[in-house]
Amino acid sequence: MNVAYLVRKLAQALVTIAAIVILLFVLFRAMPGSPDRVSKNPNMTPAMQAAERARWGLDKPLVPDQLVAFIGSTVTGDLGTSIKFRGQPVTEVVGAAVGPTILLVGLGEAIAIIVGLALGALSGWRRGGLVDRLGNGASLVFYSMPYFVIGMPLIMVFASGLGWFPTSGMTTPGASADPVGQVLDVAGHLVLPLTAVTLGLIGAYSILMRSAIIETRAEDYITTARAKGLTDARILRHHAFPNALLPMVTFIAINLGYVIAGAITLEVVFSWPGLGTLTVAALNARDYPLLQGIFLLVSVSVVMFNLLADFVYGALDPRVRS
């Protein structure tokens, strides 16, 4: 692959991240009740307030002093301390929620990408066929439903009703001490929310892949492949699929970038201790440092996955490389 292409894309990503950091700084300082809130505590004397301001560096001008300090601490990985989780560094609070979210949404994405793309490709290739009528119908239904709408009936039937799975959370407190038991416990908690998120994502991927394949089918090189006497399966695998995949790359990358944001409604419905639940908690508590940390993490993740998309795109499409 072209080195100049890589370097250019990498530079673009770094500039974007820098812009995001500055934007976050401006955004959170422009919001009502921002950092200054502490120093306006009416129970404090003006002298105490001034001392407090000086302690947090709020007596200095916004630009450049505060901005420089903000960038400096952000770059060194200091995102401040959470208000809701008193005294705990934001990085720790966020870090604890990242794992559960990646486990749930990341795994869901992985399954949905494989199943969704295959389902969409088959549906589009044999438009009106059995796979298309069943698969595309189901995909439309699941795609149009928010995750919690898929999740709630699952809870009612398989958790509250049949009692096969726990209704909420990721672990049963004090359930098991041995590692195998713990893994099984988490797996049991994972089944229902994972099913919900995977079904929704399969719907999205298969619908997009279906239309990409239908578009590709009409291309002249597919007629050439048919004229070559290749089997239908080979034409799909070697000619239609690799081309139809190209428009999917960006979409997949954007989706993966947002994995870290969690599936908010789904996590709340299942009380899953991930970033989605944490975001809601931070919003309710007006925990600005925590929100700021979450936003920064999500934005950086989106940018990095877009960068990855550019690389993957370059690998899949020779036209991009030159």
């Binding site: 002249d220 050439t224 004229a227 089997t231 020779p318």
Partner: protein
Amino acid sequence: MTTEVRGRLGRLLPDGADPTAPLLEVRDLAVRFRTPSGASVRAVGGMSFRLDAGEAMGIAGESGCGKTTTALSLVHLLPGTGRVSAGSVKLFGIDLVPLTERQLARYRWREISMVFQGAMNALNPVQRVGDQIAEPIEVRLGQSRDASRKRAGELLELVGIPRQRASAYPHELSGGMRQRAMIAMALACDPAVVIGDEPTTALDVMVQAQILQLLERLRRELGLSLLLITHDLSVIAETCDRVMVMYAGRVAEEGPVSRVFTAPRHPYTVKLLSSFPDIRTGRRALSMIPGSPPDLRTPPPGCLFAPRCEHAMPVCAVETPPEINSDDGVRVACHLFTAGDAVRRDAASEVKA
């Protein structure tokens, strides 16, 4: 046990091949398309022609007259909405029309291959051209990957592309190079018939001439049998032995290029030739053919060209003209040439004048 029949270069022909049959013989071929509104378009309505081994035949006619449809229908490559509704397509005497997709796969590319217009879209943009050329050799002829790659390299050299370029992607080649690569691909399985559908149309004049020279050379060296579709009559004049002029999905006139281009009989051929820049002098001609082809959803009775024909007679609006074969090998479908009518023959001599 069926006897083995060997064709060009001693290759084994498919079971049931008749060594005495013409290479390709199409009879009364008709093709219909379903339209979204539910109507049916008769894109090709009863075409007959034959192509002998080593021969090059040009197919000419205005846009929409059914040239591409005819070519695609030979090995069932029509889009899902189209189907052959009547007639036969006999290759070595074997009728391809009733064959299933699976049976037909045997004939695609190995016997009938194609070079499409604008190879940019006809080649897979994300696959190396060498791999695209090697694919039918490996998949259809069952050769090893290495042997197929090697053969692909030879084919590239044959069409004038250095074999190192096998690793190039289509967009890395110029338009002329892509068309050469497409020709190399068409030759991959040493087919009995190569169909070129406007193989030079998208190219500039210089490159066009080079591609035509290449086709000429390949014909001479490999003894190709060629069906060349183009609305550029000068291309046919330069490359083909015979020409078939189509109008609204039917044959208007067909015969040796030397006869048809110097003494056209069908009023449509006359118009078509005069609407073209002179083949020898390159002078731009002025006359256009007034009117437009008929709506093939509801084809009128009689001769389809009659509404645009200066020589139309009452019978033309009623009866489909029969195809008249004359002694010099020209076939024409026009009431002016229906035998035994002095008045019509007078009119005919007017056309020639």
